[in-house]
């Protein structure tokens, strides 16, 4: 236990030093990795702990990014309040979508969330008057003076807070209910667990975190495009969680960093980089179905 705590503290310390050691380019990669850590961790909360495979996650990130962006742009709100409202919007959308679709379960849930996310992307693309469509929406930055390290620390702080909250949630009574619902929904229900409510809580919380990640991301890049909510992004989140290890707290962290750094490293191969990317993911999913964290655990055992 103590060794684990120490090693986690060591990693956090390393992460705090990153802006000193990394150049501007790799610092950018680190910030993007943190964005994906937020997204895949929140997706992991529903997919890995309650067994709900939702495809609307990138959609919720886009919802967060655009609500915050539009609010700051047209109503002149500060980016901080924009981010807070964007997070709430994504949470509310999650609550509504979840309320309608969670009863379906299984493949139907996946299909309806997929539909929702595509509809959202198409609306954003077509409402050019407001969102400037594929040209992208220019939004103000989070800080008045641009500095990559401040963005890095902001992302790092939020990622650590979200991870700690997730850890606490998963180890709470509610977390136990999450796992019971995933393991055997009927048995959980007849044991006194209100399964639909439990799923809705997980789905809403997870959507809110995705919205938060998206809103932050928008104010970092200062240009948001409908691509944030594309299915390509969704599958990236999915791949990161699976590669890292579904149903573990650190899995999505490891997966997000691994795949983000990998995709930067193989970017030089141009068109082929997607092929390499796919192959690596395939090999890991085939030979380490529990992901990189699973490999680590197996070696320990």
């Amino acid at each position: 236990m103590w060794r684990q705590v120490l090693s986690i503290l060591f990693v956090i310390l390393l992460a705090l030093c990153a802006p000193i050691c990394l150049d501007q380019y790799w610092l950018h990669v680190a910030i993007i990795s943190l964005y994906y850590i937020l997204l895949s961790s929140s997706w992991n909360l529903i997919a890995g702990y309650t067994g709900l495979v939702s495809f609307a996650h990138a959609g919720f990130a886009a919802l967060g990014a655009y609500s915050s962006g539009l609010l700051t742009l047209y109503l002149g709100l500060s980016p901080i309040s924009g981010i807070c409202i964007g997070t709430c919007f994504a949470g509310l959308a999650g609550l509504t979508l979840g309320g309608i679709t969670l009863r379906l379960g299984g493949i139907y849930l996946s299909l309806t969330t997929l539909g929702f996310s595509e509809i959202l992307r198409i609306i954003i693309t077509n409402e050019e008057k407001w969102t400037r469509g594929t040209m992208g929406l220019q939004v103000p930055g989070l800080f008045s003076t641009y500095s990559k390290s401040s963005y890095y620390y902001a992302f790092l702080f939020i990622a650590i807070v979200v991870l700690i909250l997730t850890w606490r949630l998963v180890h709470s009574n509610l977390g136990l209910c999450f796992r019971a619902v995933m393991d055997d929904e009927l048995a959980a229900n007849t044991s006194g667990v209100p399964t639909n409510q439990v799923r809705l809580i997980a789905f809403t919380g997870s959507s809110a975190i995705a919205g938060l990640a998206g809103a932050l991301y928008g104010h970092y890049l200062m240009l948001i495009t409908p691509d944030i909510g594309s299915l390509g992004q969704m599958f990236l989140i999915l791949a990161m969680t699976m590669v890292g290890g579904l149903g573990t707290i650190l899995g999505p962290v490891v997966g997000a960093i691994f795949l983000q750094v990998l995709s930067e490293k193989i970017r030089v191969y141009g068109e082929y980089h997607l092929l390499v990317f796919g192959l690596v993911t395939l090999v890991i999913v085939l030979f380490a179905p529990q992901g990189l964290m699973g490999l680590l655990k197996r070696r320990k055992a």
């Binding site: 009574n173 136990l176 209910c177 796992r179 019971a180 393991d183 055997d184 009927l186 048995a187 959980a188 229900n189 007849t190 044991s191 006194g192 667990v193 209100p194 399964t195």
Partner: protein, 240 residues
């Protein structure tokens, strides 16, 4: 305590329950028997809220429960086990029982854990506390389901063929355990079983279902000699 009246249930064209009525008095062990396909498990699924009856009412301690969700029924005090066991396979035995305690809302984490540990001990599973429930033997899984059911502090437990698949020695162990639980917790038990030896010796009353209808209801001895029951199991004697 529990009053089932005129329960009907059909799956498409197949009518499984054709108006079943019976009552259960507090503190008794009631056996529910009948040939395969009589509708016993369907009745259990209706009592625990998994299925909704087409018509009829279920009164539990004076209030209607036949429109409630399973978790609400559990919170009101009806817990169950399954014919084909359904433990939370990827969770430890302790966690399985902890989930059962959640139907009682206000309770500290510590008292939940100590309660779950005590129940595991009662059912002889204390050494398996941190084992995944999917990795233990069938009888242990059945005991675990019983512990999980007891954790919700039920006043009525529905046992669905808890002895099926156990060897004679385990059957003895399990029946003794059920009697022990009734004494210690004062729970009422409704018990589906095919094993006649066990059900005859361990129940206060037996209800017999056949083709979705109640054909007999009474003390074990009376039921065992009831002509309609013998016919249901062995066929009409005129053709024998």
């Amino acid at each position: 305590m529990l009053a089932v009246s005129n329960i009907r249930k059909a799956f498409g064209g197949l009518t499984v329950l054709k108006g079943v009525d019976f009552e259960i008095e507090e503190g008794k062990i009631i056996g529910l028997i009948g040939p395969n396909g009589a509708g016993k498990t369907t009745l259990f699924n209706i009592l625990s809220g998994i299925l909704r009856a087409d018509s009829g009412t279920v009164l539990f301690r004076g209030s209607e429960i036949h429109r409630l969700a399973p978790f609400e029924i559990c919170r009101r005090g009806i817990a169950r086990t399954y014919q084909i066991v359904r433990p939370f396979k990827k969770m430890t035995c302790l966690e399985n029982v902890l989930v059962g305690t959640f139907s009682k809302r206000k309770m500290s984490k510590q008292s939940r854990v100590s309660k779950a540990t005590a129940l595991l001990q009662l059912l002889g599973l204390q050494e398996l506390r941190d084992h995944a429930a999917g990795e233990i033997t069938l009888i242990q899984q059945k005991q675990l389901e019983l512990a999980r059911a007891l954790a919700s502090e039920p006043s009525l437990i529905l046992l669905d063929e808890i002895l099926a698949g156990l060897n004679p020695k385990e059957v003895q162990l399990a029946t003794a355990m059920i009697q022990g639980i009734r004494k210690q917790f004062g729970v009422t038990i409704l018990w589906i079983e095919h094993l006649m030896g066990a059900i005859m010796g361990n129940t206060d009353r037996i209800v017999v279902l056949c083709n979705g209808k109640k054909i007999s209801d009474g003390k074990p001895n009376t039921v065992a000699t009831d002509k309609t029951v013998i016919e249901a199991y062995l066929g009409d004697s005129t053709y024998a």
